[in-house]
C-alpha cells in the first residue's frame, strides 16, 4: 500500500473514532509526587467544593459528548482520574461546542485524609485503629436507585465532615 494511502487510512480512522465512538478526556497533572490509584466506582462527581480538606491533583476536560450522555461523561472522568489517585472531580464549567457536543472541565482532587494502604497498614500494625475507618463514621444506608425488578441499591452514608 502506498504511503499516502496509509496516511489517509490513519486519518480516516481518527475521524471515525472522534465522530462515532469516542469522547476524549484531557488530564493535566498539577500535584506534586505520586498517589496510588483509586477505585473509579468510588470517585465522586461534585459541582460544589467539599468541606473536607483536599489537594488538587489535576485539571480535567472531557469533550465530544452527546448532550444526553451526561452520566456517561461523569464515568469517563471517573475512569480517567482514578489512575492519578483522585477521590473526586469538582466540575467547574461546561457547555456545548460548535458541533453540538457537550464538554465539561473541572479539577480532580484527593482528600487529605485518604491514606495509602501502606500507611494505614503501618498504623494498624502498631495496634491503633486505622484513621481511614476511624475518620469516616458510618451513619447508615440510604436507597439510591431502584431497578424495575424491585432490587434497591443502597449506599453507605458517612459523617459529612472531617473530625
Amino acid at each position: 500500500m502506498k504511503r499516502t494511502h496509509l496516511l489517509g487510512f490513519g486519518a480516516s480512522c481518527l475521524i471515525l473514532l472522534m465522530t462515532f465512538g469516542c469522547a476524549s478526556v484531557t488530564v493535566t497533572k498539577t500535584a506534586k509526587g505520586y498517589f496510588s490509584p483509586t477505585d473509579p466506582d468510588e470517585i465522586e462527581i461534585l459541582v460544589t467544593v467539599p468541606n473536607r480538606n483536599f489537594i488538587e491533583l489535576a485539571t480535567v476536560t472531557t469533550k465530544n459528548w452527546p448532550t444526553n450522555d451526561t452520566a456517561k461523561m461523569h464515568n469517563s472522568l471517573r475512569a480517567k482520574c482514578a489512575p492519578l489517585g483522585a477521590n473526586a472531580v469538582i466540575l467547574g464549567s461546561s457547555g456545548i461546542d460548535h458541533n453540538g457536543y457537550f464538554w465539561a472541565s473541572g479539577v480532580a482532587i484527593r482528600y487529605k485524609s485518604q491514606l495509602t494502604t501502606r500507611e494505614a497498614t503501618k498504623i494498624e500494625k502498631k495496634g491503633k485503629k486505622s484513621p481511614i475507618n476511624k475518620e469516616r463514621k458510618l451513619i447508615g444506608y440510604r436507597a439510591t436507585s431502584e431497578y424495575p425488578s424491585g432490587k434497591i441499591i443502597t449506599t453507605p452514608v458517612y459523617e459529612a465532615n472531617e473530625p
Partner: protein
C-alpha cells in the same frame, strides 16, 4: 498545488506533529542538583515502590514515551521514575465506571522521579 497535494501535506503534518513530544512541563524539587546517571540505571515503575523514597521531580508531556521519561529521570540523577499515563479516548458505549476499553490510549504521560532513601 492540487487539492490532493494539500490533503497529503495536512495529513503528513498531523502525523509528524502527533509523533513529537509536546507540552513538556517538568518540576524539580531538590535544592541541589544530583549527578546525571546512565539511562539503564534508572528503574521504570508503574506503582509506588515499597522502600522509602523522596520525590525529586515531576515530568509530564504529550506524546511522550516511557523511554523519554526514563531519559529525563537519568538526566537529573533519579533512581527510578513512576510512570502513569493519563487522559485519552473514552468509548461512549462504555456503561461501567471501572471499565475502560480505551485504557491503552492516553494523551499525556506523567512521571514522578524518585530517589531511594536507603540504597
Amino acid at each position: 498545488m492540487s487539492k490532493k497535494s494539500i490533503l497529503v501535506v495536512v495529513i503528513a503534518s498531523y502525523v509528524f506533529f502527533a509523533g513529537c513530544v509536546s507540552d513538556e512541563a517538568n518540576r524539580y524539587y531538590l535544592k541541589k542538583r544530583l549527578p546525571a546517571k546512565n539511562i539503564n540505571e534508572v528503574e521504570v515503575l508503574q506503582e509506588e515502590p515499597q522502600q522509602p523514597y523522596i520525590v525529586v521531580a515531576d515530568f509530564q508531556a504529550r506524546n511522550a514515551t516511557i523511554k523519554h521519561m526514563r531519559k529525563r529521570a537519568a538526566e537529573i540523577g533519579a533512581d527510578a521514575v513512576i510512570v502513569v499515563p493519563v487522559g485519552g479516548w473514552y468509548s461512549r458505549n462504555e456503561i461501567w465506571a471501572d471499565k475502560d476499553r480505551q485504557s491503552n490510549s492516553y494523551h499525556r504521560l506523567t512521571g514522578t522521579a524518585i530517589q531511594y532513601k536507603i540504597k
